[in-house]
């Protein structure tokens, strides 16, 4: 039981460190983008006979989207870790046959 708790703490600490690292990395990347010349914000001319540009040409927006994407995946990883813990707990309660006693959704009888 104790090792379970310490494993959870370690997992949460690792997720926190990862998020912190991502924050630092994203800040550094954004700072680099802000230093780039204003000219790079202009949409690039599309080559003839090609579709109009689909990806954003302003470097700042492009970088922001990549940073957001990295954050999204990190958040998903953390949320999945928490969900896994909740699922294990819910399954344990179900196996013990306690789920009928007041573990329904909010508003359900016995909640």
């Amino acid at each position: 039981m104790e090792s379970d708790v310490s494993r959870r703490r370690r997992a949460i600490a690792a997720a926190g460190l990862l998020l912190l690292g991502a924050l630092v990395a994203s800040g550094w990347l954004e700072a680099r983008v802000q230093e780039s010349p204003q000219a790079s914000l202009k949409p690039a001319a599309a080559a003839p006979e090609q579709d109009k540009p689909a990806a954003p040409r302003p470097a700042k927006e492009r970088m922001a989207v990549y940073v957001i994407l990295a954050w999204v995946w990190l958040s998903i990883a953390v949320l999945l870790a928490f969900l896994r813990l909740r699922v294990r707990e819910a399954d344990r309660v179900h196996r013990m046959g306690l789920h009928r006693a007041g573990d329904g959704p909010p508003g359900a009888p016995g909640h």
């Binding site: 989207v65 999204v72 819910a90 359900a108 909640h111």
Partner: protein, 352 residues
């Protein structure tokens, strides 16, 4: 918090719904993964609605402005290209999941009594999803979308008596013009969403009414399957699937954002190598294979009739396959596998 809950309960009376969810059970077996497809479809539908509303704020459904407004959304609106990309990819994901959901139900024969009406509404939902794809494809008003819509709206013309009229109704005239864009837009943003939400309401009610289906063998051999409570065990697992799907959708939308071609020219000939969206490819290839005349009859008409018969067979499958445990059921399963192999084979051929 408790007082707020009581206030809401007094007004909305959601207690019975919560009580129902607390009692709901999900059977556990080797096909349990199929249960996740239904809620994932709802997730993508929600994303479609949100991104669709955002796009509709800037899109202008007129001949002069349709293409230009899409270009503006993609190049001038903040993250407009991403919103459009998420809208486009979530449509693809949703239709793929609707197919997976329906195929899963078909091969596990979950449409058997008493779930025939659930199947009927499910097939109607697939039809609405495809109609969304067809009407949405024209809206960017580029060369490809014009050519594909011309081909698609020309198909009903082969039908006797109502064919020409049907084509005119779809096109808002004899040809695909600016009026067609307006008509497709109205259908895409108001008629189809209303129809889809109404059918979806009935579908979800029926799913709750009859509960999750158990596999055929379990029902035949009267095996009591292990189960999970829907709340919270199954819902938490579903939430995990949604998060992963959201991540995949966003990643694909960022790295594979769709472009928009040059504005459609009504006078220009159709560009070479036009292809519809992937979910129409097998029909497109089938039509190409049919000769112009078969035994003196119009080949296109025969192709249309064959496809309509196939759609009717899918719609009324629960009534055709009314003895799923017997030999007839096995023959129908074999035919369903053959149909699936045909659709995949034709789609690949069309892409080559």
């Amino acid at each position: 918090m408790k007082a707020l809950g009581a206030w809401i309960e007094d007004r909305l009376g959601l207690g019975p719904v919560a009580a129902f969810l607390a009692k709901k059970e999900v059977p556990c077996h080797r096909h349990t993964i199929l249960y996740y497809t239904g809620s994932s479809i709802l997730l993508f539908l929600g994303i479609q609605i949100v991104t669709g509303v955002l796009l509709a704020l800037y899109y202008q459904p007129t001949l002069a402005e349709a293409n230009a407004s899409v270009v503006r959304i993609m190049t001038e609106m903040p993250l407009g290209w991403l919103v459009r990309s998420v809208h486009s990819w979530s449509a693809t994901f949703m239709i793929a999941l609707v197919f997976a959901h329906l195929l899963g139900i078909a091969f596990t024969k979950a449409y058997r009594k008493p779930r025939e009406a659930t199947w009927l509404t499910g097939v109607l939902l697939l039809g609405s999803s495809l109609a969304f794809g067809f009407t949405g494809y024209l809206l960017p008003w580029d060369e490809l979308s014009l050519a594909a819509t011309k081909v698609g709206t020309n198909l009903p013309k082969a039908l006797p008596v109502i064919g020409t009229w049907l084509t005119q109704v779809m096109r808002a005239g004899d040809d695909v013009t600016g009026d067609t864009i307006t008509r497709f837009f109205i259908v895409h943003v108001s008629v189809l969403p209303l129809a889809l939400l109404a059918i979806l309401g009935v579908h979800i009610f029926l799913v709750q009414r009859h509960g999750m289906s158990a596999p055929l063998e379990a029902e035949r051999d009267k095996i009591k399957l292990p189960w999970l409570p829907f709340w919270p065990n199954f819902l938490l697992r579903e939430a995990g699937v949604w998060f992963v799907l959201l991540g995949v959708l966003l990643t694909v939308a960022v790295f594979l954002a769709p472009g928009v071609g040059p504005q459609a020219d009504l006078m220009a000939p159709a560009p070479e190598g036009i292809k519809p969206e992937w979910y129409f490819l097998f029909m497109f290839q089938t039509l190409k294979l049919f000769p112009a005349r078969i035994l003196g009859l119009n080949g296109e008409l025969i192709a249309m009739l064959v496809m309509m018969a196939g759609m009717a067979a899918v719609l009324f499958l629960p009534f055709i396959d009314d003895r799923p445990f017997e030999r007839k059921g096995k023959v129908i399963t074999g035919l369903a596998w053959a149909g699936l192999a045909y659709a995949i084979g034709m789609s690949i051929w069309s892409l080559m």
